[in-house]
């Protein structure tokens, strides 16, 4: 029972990690919280889902579409709601509002285009399950966990070892310094926003598979979970986002498993508040 729930928690949590990585990447290079992140990737995921349900496309195409559409929305977000404010050198609160505006537009757009109701994600991988000792894992969960973990490992390597990854880290640490070293920081920012949004696009599809459904309003609820993970992990910390996403997932699943299903979010967020009381900078954050 314990191991079983742990695996379930890790599966859900790995998708939260992917969402939180998106927030933390953008916060890293821009110093702002992108309030439209959730809506961006749910929009992308809906486009992917519709390709499957209405046009009988394979699930792989849906993933690809979700990645591309989320990435493009991220690009539009950068050029309409972020860059113009950056050029004017306004306080960071302004872009908080402009991204909320973008989020609202996307959410209303989704209602118009896809309707406000939940839409079922077809069960592509069947209900086949594997027995691993005392733990029973659904094929779909294995795929979700596998994709999320592989993505995080690749991202970790990419950020730490490649030239572009290092440019992102340099820009995150100090944009001005990065630019005098010859880094085109605007390009780095565009790359980061698109990368963060596309990662969200994958997370959105994986969440759809976990819950067998997607709802436009999930943009907001999942966005908040990602934000909670961001704060818990320490704003700007990629390992923090990865590990704390898993922690939130596990806490949630255990709360449900041990009988408090209607208190799921309350327990999860309550624990986060407790942790933050002890470590205000987040588990992996640096003291300001």
């Amino acid at each position: 029972m314990f191991l079983q729930q742990l695996v379930n928690g890790l599966t859900v949590g790995s998708t939260y990690s992917l969402i939180a990585i998106g927030y933390t990447l953008i916060f890293g290079v821009l110093g702002i919280i992108n309030m439209a992140h959730g809506q961006v990737f749910i929009f992308g995921s809906f486009v992917g889902l519709i390709l499957v349900t209405n046009f009988d496309m394979p699930i792989a195409v849906a993933f690809l579409a979700s990645i591309v559409v989320s990435g493009i929305l991220g690009l539009i977000l950068e050029f309409t709601a972020m860059r113009p404010l950056r050029k004017k050198n306004v306080p960071h609160l302004a872009s908080l509002i402009s991204t909320i505006g973008f989020a609202t537009l996307l959410e209303e757009g989704m209602h118009k285009l896809f309707g406000a109701d939940s839409r079922a994600v077809p069960d592509t991988f069947g209900s086949q399950a594997f027995q691993l000792g005392s733990v029973q894992i659904r094929a779909v969960d294995l795929i979700i966990l596998g994709i999320a973990v592989v993505l995080m490992v690749v991202l970790h390597f990419w950020i730490n070892k490649t030239k572009v990854g290092k440019a992102i880290r340099a820009t995150a640490e100090n944009t001005e310094t990065a630019s005098v070293l010859g880094i085109n920081t605007n390009m780095v920012i565009v790359t980061t926003v698109v990368l963060a949004s596309s990662l969200g696009g994958i997370a959105g599809m994986l969440i759809g598979m976990t819950y067998s459904a997607l709802i436009p309003s999930m943009g907001m609820t999942l966005g908040f979970k990602g934000l909670a993970v961001l704060i818990l992990g320490g704003v700007g910390s990629i390992p923090g986002a990865m590990i704390c996403g898993l922690i939130l997932g596990v806490i949630e699943v255990f709360t449900v498993a041990y009988g408090a299903s209607s208190y799921r979010d309350a327990v999860a967020f309550g624990l986060i508040i407790l942790i933050l009381l002890i470590r205000p900078q987040g588990l992996f954050g640096r003291k300001a």
Binding site: A167, E173, S179, N184
Partner: protein
């Protein structure tokens, strides 16, 4: 190599430099000296593309470059060591050096230059895998200079390299700057440490309240009565 005419830059409403003109000839060390708040850093930031001037021209290697983005200026051959060194503290010494060579793709050449820098500054070799932020001020300044040289600049801009360093380290840094210049890099240096800067400079400009008030060869400024009185602690020390 670098020619500035009637340059003015403001921070918001405040004009930090006014109608500033100066020239840096190829192969020389030129010093821009002045007190705190005279506009030295503003001048450097404007040349490096971090600030956009209100008016005036900056000509670098025959091209008008005012208003260019910093990364474009780096590819044109200009490299700034910012005030306060600006080491990437969360990245290793090696990564800092790599970032200095960001625009280059000649792996063999980068490796060769990296080796050269580690011979010039042996401390960097010892600290290669250490985070930049864990080094002392003097070591960080050496890393900042080495990092700036990794782009193989034709003109090196140094913004107060002696700031906050112990006197013995300051002498080291100035010796290195002289050596860099002898190896063929033109240098424009901004300093509050007037004596040291003018000693190594071929030519100097004195900046007061955003304007150039004196100029001349390093030697002539060092012996100039007015400069001595204002920046070198008067006559009695001579």
């Amino acid at each position: 190599m670098l020619s500035i005419r009637d340059l003015s830059t403001s921070y918001g409403q405040i004009k930090a430099i006014r109608n500033l003109s100066l020239d840096v000839e190829e192969g020389k060390i030129v010093a821009l000296i002045g007190a705190n708040g005279a506009g030295k850093t503003t001048t450097m930031k404007t040349i490096a593309g971090l600030l956009t001037p209100d008016q005036g021209s900056i000509t670098f290697l025959g091209q008008r470059v005012e208003g260019w983005k910093p990364h474009k200026l780096v590819s044109a051959g200009l490299s700034l060591v910012p005030e306060g060194r600006a080491i990437l503290g969360q990245m290793t010494v090696l990564e800092n050096l790599e970032m200095g060579a960001f625009q280059r793709n000649d792996q063999a050449g980068i490796k060769e230059d990296m080796e050269k820098m580690m011979n010039w500054f042996p401390i960097l070799r010892e600290r290669l895998t250490q985070l930049g932020g864990t080094m002392s001020g003097g070591q960080q300044q050496m890393l900042a200079i080495a990092r700036a040289l990794m782009s193989r600049p034709k003109l090196l801009l140094l913004d107060e390299p002696s700031m906050g360093l112990a006197p013995i380290v300051v002498s080291d840094i100035f010796r290195v700057i002289k050596q860099i210049n002898q190896e063929g890099t033109t240098v424009l240096i901004v300093e509050q440490n007037v004596k040291q800067a003018l000693k190594i400079a071929d030519y100097g400009y004195v900046l007061e309240a955003g304007q150039i008030v004196y100029q001349g060869t390093g030697e002539s400024l060092l012996t100039d009565e007015k400069v001595k009185e204002a920046y070198l602690g008067g006559r009695k020390h001579e």
